[in-house]
């Protein structure tokens, strides 16, 4: 295997008697003991030998998990040795993966007392922005969701663009109702408050127009 190309073989079933001199991933963790008391190096040597695992390994979740992890690492090492991608290419891919994770935003608790159910901020915000957009003369510009400390409630802050053909307070109340309804019935969030800020004016006939902050209002759901 790739991980142990430079290692000496140790007979299966025996604890290694001397520390290996070469460097590989299995060696780096080899002196660590699993919770079951076995050395990781011993478990790996046994798996590498390819024979039948002993009775302990067959029933031990810790040994099996260690073998699975090292086998995956071995497979990855083999691939890298065969393909030898450039550092730049690997860095690009890693950054793409990290950015995709960051784009999910923070995790928000769904309205569940055990707090084992969560939703990504971007997923919930998309639903709430759309609810605001369904109100005539309104376009949501941004939506931030912040979990309250010590409970499963979430505070919603939305910036909006609106037309001025209707009084703003009435329209803001309409938006608040739509957003609260979507948060409860489409996502399943417990909402502690909805903060609306009208930051832009919409011309009735055009989709967007730049403007300055105008109105800010806040209330419970």
């Amino acid at each position: 295997m790739a991980l142990d190309d430079h290692r000496r073989a140790t007979p299966a079933g025996d604890e290694p008697t001397a520390a290996p001199t070469d460097t590989d991933a299995a060696q780096l963790v080899g002196d660590e003991k699993l919770p079951c008391g076995r050395l990781i190096s011993h478990v790996w040597e046994q798996a590498r030998a390819g024979g039948e695992p002993d009775s302990h390994t067959v029933g031990c979740a810790f040994c099996r998990e260690a073998v699975e992890g090292l086998t995956a690492l071995d497979s990855a090492a083999r691939t890298l040795r065969a393909v030898r991608p450039s550092a730049h290419l690997v860095a690009d891919r890693v950054m793409r993966a990290v950015r995709a994770e960051v784009r999910l935003g923070r995790l928000l608790p769904l309205d569940d007392p055990v707090t084992e159910l969560w939703v990504a901020e971007t997923a919930a915000a998309k639903v709430l922005r759309r609810a605001a957009d369904h109100v005539a003369g309104v376009r949501a510009a941004s939506c931030r969701l912040t979990p309250d400390e010590g409970n499963t409630e979430v505070a919603i802050a939305i910036t909006l663009a609106m037309t001025l053909d209707h009084p703003l307070p009435g329209r803001a109340a309409e938006v608040r109702r739509a957003v609260a309804c979507a948060a409860e019935h489409e996502v399943g969030l417990a909402v502690s408050g909805i903060d609306l800020a009208v930051v832009s004016v919409l011309e009735p006939s055009t989709p967007m127009a730049a403007a300055e902050p105008m109105v800010r209002s806040r209330s419970g759901p």
Partner: protein
């Protein structure tokens, strides 16, 4: 049922989660994405579709010995995300608990569900 290793538990959890009405798919976690980023061989477009269990992370807590399973899923918008997440949690828990190695006494399994998208 026969106790399984981590990979077997993740596979079973993935199958259980995908069978829940309202689940559109499972989203790979950062661990899997980074592994793919580091080792992916150049192949034809479309060949890097992740396998379902990439959206599952199962691990045994060394200190307590209990199992924790994390499910990252994209859900359909025609159903409340909370209800789908609850069903996923129940289905995965009831699927995984019999597979977890234990010494005579069934161990509780913690299942955390993360809705990463609504489609």
């Amino acid at each position: 049922m026969t106790p399984r290793g981590t990979a077997g538990i993740e596979r079973a959890a993935a199958g259980a989660a995908l069978a829940v009405p309202g689940v559109a798919g499972l989203q790979p976690g950062l661990r899997h994405s980074l592994a793919v980023a580091a080792t992916r061989v150049r192949r034809a477009a479309g060949s890097t579709t992740p396998y379902p269990e990439a959206g599952i992370r199962a691990e045994r807590t060394p200190r307590t010995g209990t199992w924790a399973v994390e499910v990252r899923c994209v859900v359909n918008e025609d159903r409340r995300a909370l209800d789908t997440a609850r069903d996923v949690q129940e289905r995965v828990r009831s699927t995984v608990e019999p597979l977890v190695p234990h010494s005579g006494i069934p161990e509780p399994v913690t299942v955390v569900v993360i809705v990463t998208g609504m489609a």
